[in-house]
């Protein structure tokens, strides 16, 4: 009896101690909640995190950074968020963002619905996107079979000593342009290789110069220096479309309509004078800034955006991600004609931005 009593006390103390310890560590002072990571976010916040990650990629962040941000997250969640985002961007007509998001979905390979990946953006009229490379194997230098050496063509047609006759080299294989090579005119066989009627041989070629297949200067070697700096394999465009960099004020017109509120209208046009939608326009002044996107008032035109403004304030206008204003010190001015009451009326401005 005396032996069992202490062991019961030990057991009871153990239970009490364990209970108190767990109550304290789980209830009173649990593991800190301030150092969590994205995978522990509530579902809606987690999807929002993925959405923000994808939008950041669309804004120009690198794929590496994007993948780091998505580490530890379920592929299913990523696919879900990307699908939603792709649909939204497709419906909003943000083609550049859609293009980047499609590329991201393909790069991540998380099982986004294939039909959503087919929402390929078509080149917009503004032609701000670089032309997509088309692997057109049009460069098939077949003239080798008909090439006859002419004396005039010898300086350029003479095979350099490094060109060793190799009958096994087939030009079609070596000249197939890769994805990174934008086919340019430099791929077309030069005049030195094509038999031109004017280059009639003044003397008949000697039998030794009869072109055997092996002696044919393989065009596959000559075009190699021609490729100019090519775009990167990913064909990532610069974050700021080239059109925005080339915009300048092409027209500044005062609008004198006493019925309409004082405003500054901005019209963004491309090279053809067509309105460009989706361009971010900033109006800044000493005390603040306002932002508008062209195309939200289709009745006024695709490239139209406007701001309500106050008299006696100097404004500056900039577009896109460029911080440099295209026009500054823009203030409302009195119209040449006075109002019906004889008082001067302030006119609004219509600013046309075009390359």
């Amino acid at each position: 009896m005396r032996r069992r009593f202490p062991s019961l006390a030990l057991l009871a103390g153990l239970v009490v101690g364990l209970t108190l310890g767990l109550a304290y560590t789980w209830g009173v002072n649990p593991v800190e909640l301030t150092n969590t990571y994205p995978a522990l976010l509530r579902t809606d916040h987690r999807l929002e995190w993925i959405r923000l990650t994808a939008l950041s990629y669309a804004a120009g962040d690198s794929l590496e950074r994007t993948q780091t941000r998505l580490e530890g997250l379920e592929e299913e969640d990523i696919a879900r968020a990307l699908e939603t985002l792709l649909k939204e961007q497709a419906s909003h007509g943000s083609w550049e963002a859609l293009r980047r998001l499609t590329a991201l979905a393909e790069a991540l390979d998380v099982g986004v619905l294939p039909e959503l990946l087919e929402l390929e953006p078509t080149p917009t009229p503004s032609a701000t996107l670089p032309p997509t490379p088309t692997s057109t194997p049009t460069v098939t230098p077949s003239p080798t079979a008909t090439w006859t050496p002419t004396p005039t063509a010898t300086p350029s047609a003479t095979p350099s000593p490094t060109i060793t006759p190799s009958p096994t080299v087939t030009p079609t294989e070596t000249l197939t342009p890769t994805q990174t090579m934008t086919p340019t005119a430099t791929y077309t066989p030069t005049a030195t290789f094509t038999p031109s009627p004017t280059a009639t041989p003044s003397s008949t070629p000697t039998p030794t110069k009869t072109p055997t297949p092996s002696a044919t200067p393989t065009p596959s070697r000559t075009p190699t220096p021609t490729p100019t700096p090519t775009p990167s394999p990913t064909l990532t465009p610069s974050p700021t479309p080239p059109l925005l960099r080339r915009l300048e004020v092409s027209e500044k017109e005062q609008l004198c309509d006493p019925e309409s509120p004082l405003h500054i209208a901005v019209v963004v046009q491309d090279e053809e004078g067509e309105g460009v939608p989706g361009v971010e326009v900033w109006l800044t002044w000493a005390q603040g800034a306002d932002r508008a996107v062209t195309g939200l008032k289709p009745d006024e035109g695709l490239g139209y955006a406007d701001f309500n403004v106050e008299p006696d304030t100097a404004y500056a206008i900039s577009v896109g991600e460029l911080g440099m204003p295209l026009i500054s010190g823009l203030q409302l001015e009195d119209c040449p004609d006075e109002g019906e009451d004889g008082e001067p009326i302030a006119g609004s401005w219509r600013i046309v931005l075009a390359p």
């Binding site: 101690g17 593991v31 995190w49 911080g323």
Partner: protein, 131 residues
């Protein structure tokens, strides 16, 4: 005297119980904090570790660049439980400037801060494209 000392000593069962409680507490702490801690699966962005939190702010600024929706950006920043939504944007921008962060990130933060009504001379060069 010796008899009195013997009576003053706590009984052995009491000592056993104290030892038991101490062992139980130690075991409870080990289990609760180390072996089997509380896990949170429904946290909010406010609970993110600082580096993730910074990433979140950067992404909000980038998303604002793409979407142009200031209201949405403000709502996202409010998830951080800051007194003022612009405060974390401004704070991160200043930290990045001091720490030599990426210019593109700072520029995005500066644009969002400006849209949120922040007029910080430190950010002005990034808005003018001449940091």
């Amino acid at each position: 005297m010796g008899h009195n000392r013997m009576r003053q000593r706590p009984p052995s069962w009491f000592r056993q119980a104290v030892i038991g409680v101490a062992l139980g507490l130690a075991l409870g702490f080990a289990v609760g904090w180390w072996l089997w801690p509380v896990t949170y699966t429904n946290t909010s962005p406010a609970a993110l570790r600082e580096d993730y939190r910074d990433d979140y702010i950067l992404m909000v600024a980038a998303a604002y660049d793409v979407e142009g929706n200031l209201q949405e950006a403000r709502a996202r920043l409010e998830q951080l439980n800051s007194d003022e939504p612009a405060a974390p944007v401004r704070g991160l921008a200043e930290r990045l400037i001091e720490g030599g962060g990426q210019e593109e990130d700072i520029t995005r933060l500066a644009r969002l801060a400006r849209a949120l009504g922040v007029a910080d001379p430190l950010l002005t060069p990034y808005l003018e494209g001449q940091p």
